[in-house]
Amino acid sequence: MNSGAGTYFDGVTSARRDVVVELTTGGLQVSDRDGHLWAQWPYEEIEGLTAPDNMLRLGRRGSATLERLEIRDPAFAAEIDARSAHVDRTGALQRSQRMRVIGWSIGATASLLLVAWFGVPAIATRLTPLLPVTFESVLGDAVNAQVRGMLDIRKAGAAFDCGIAAAEIPGRIALDKLVRRLEAVAALPLHLRTNVVRRSEANALALPGGQVYVFQGLIAKADNADEVAGVIAHEIGHVAHRDGTKAVLEGGGLSFLFGMLLGDFVGGGAVVLAAKTVLQSTYTREAESAADAYGTELMNKAGGDARALASMLEKTGGATEPGMKILMDHPDTKARVVAINKSAAAVSPSPFLEAGEWAALKKICAGS
């Protein structure tokens, strides 16, 4: 079969032309009943285009216009297919391309997960020391506003912060004395702000920019001032290592990576998300041991009892920050306690607070 019927559109006007298509040795010829020659396409320039199942639609590769030839006779369409390399009626070519695409998609997803798992933390770790302290303070203030909103779930009653009412002032003074002694040794590049807040958990929390929250529950559980100081020293470790900023960068990076690449855009909620990250405390095991080591060292330098941090850890089951649900018998906590006791200085420590001051600190949330 060397000729057949077709429909031709010249790509310049919308006119529909019933034509006769002839298959010559080098290509096909399109002419109408009056013998007017409309097109001559070499076989290698013919391409198959998307069309309904009952039709073969052809175009010319590299043509300036969108000229089209439509063949409805399946036998004649098969003849053209056999002669042209770029006509793919069976879809075999497309299927093999498709498998490649699926392979690449899976590869891209895997690499995305790898970047999320290893790349984002690595970038955050390297980027954090480069950030100026002023940026960290600004970030800390923004996160602080959110964190306070999330932590402060009281409906009514006394203020969220302890140490404001008249009866609480002596406690505030005792806390300031304790923190000053630690801060003098720590020599941080930024100013530390420590507040006791009305939350019943025995936790503490460090934010980017040097804000430390000690929960009322921790003061209640502590048996002496050095235990409180030990936990605050641990938190100062997070501040010095800028773990909060790191966590914010990681959270932002992850939400950006997944949000943008997968076609879902989380914009204004970035800070809320960052605050949640800090709250849910995704601090890694390494960050915790590093903060422990820093806290122990700080307690040693300040002449305090570093073992107090270990005894506090045992009391809280290792959960220094909220959201950490590590059980008491968890090997991690035991290992941490052992490590702290090992590096605690043997010299006889001088207590952080006098008995009267400690009693005042115990009452820092006593109310007006």
């Binding site: 010249d10 790509g11 006119a15 923004a142 409906k155 943008m260 855009f265 914009g267 204004g268 970035a270």
Partner: protein, 386 residues
Amino acid sequence: MLFVTLGIYRFWLVTDVRRFLWSNTEIAGETLEYTGTALELLLGFLVAISLLIPVYGGIFLAALDLGILGKLSGIIAFAALGLLGQYAIYRARRYRLTRTIYRGLRFHQQGSAWGYAFRAMLWWVITALTFGLAYPFQVASLERYKMRNTFYGDLGGSFEGSGFALLLRGIPMWFLVFAPLVFAVRGFVAVDWKALVDALAQGGDDVMSRIEGGNPGLGAAIVFAMLMAGASVTLAALLYPAFQAVMLRWWSSGLRFGDVEVRSSLHMRHVYAAYARFVGYAILFSIVMGFVGAFLFGVVGVAANLGKVDSAGEIAATLALLVGYVVTALGFSTIYRATVLLSLWQLGMESLQLSGLAALEKVKARGRPASPLGEGLADALNVGSY
């Protein structure tokens, strides 16, 4: 939802779907042809991301600001992304039109995308302020803008649908959805607001009991309001297919290309049938997923009892949850596409009657292919369609 879970492959999928729909759309004996490619879409998406990174960074920095800028950052981000989304919708439409070929000629779209975006944002504000009553006029106005900038070759399009006609059709539905809400609000009017504010201002732990004491009817009013809100949501869900049928019929009957006129005779009961099929298949799918989930849960439970759950087991459980989520999301969206979207498109096409087709015979080629950036933006901003 589908796009989120499919990652890079979504560009190929969307291109496949469009090729299928276009080449099965027949007008006057000739079918449409979609010439867009998945690689174009991928490229457009990558360019869109690189343009959005500064926007994203700016919004992030604005949110860090403690002053007035930080307080307003949520609104600013919402407005900026909304505007950008409308811009993307118009640009994406331009891309799709210039990849649509009919009888060897392409469609194209003129007009300013920013002009459209500002118009659309303004209309959304008006619609929100009028509780949706301005919506028919919004659609009519925006559709007029789109269609008078749409061309098949040198044959210009227009839109003749009237917002008032759509309002008349839609207002019974509007009343059905909003009436329960009005009743709910009326219930609150009876509340003694001064006593309530006083009780709140006093604060303290017994604030709730004092509120209840001052307003014996408040609890009943809250329960009534919740019931009414539930009724409103239920009615909205039940009326949604009818709303879609009205919209589709009104919209297609308003389309014009030169002398070519379109009439639609879409039946509402067919649209309801499509949704009924969706609900049926979705329930079936949920039951199957429920059984699979229960089985897996049992396995994990047994393993936990034997004390075999370690960190590797936790990771496996997390992965299983993730896979389960992806399968569920994909399943529902596939059912939705196969039942509702495909049926609506088919019903819409079959119910069309065209007149004045002679105008299609002497059209001349015009227009150039447009960049896929709009599609990429729409995808990244999650305002894309298929």
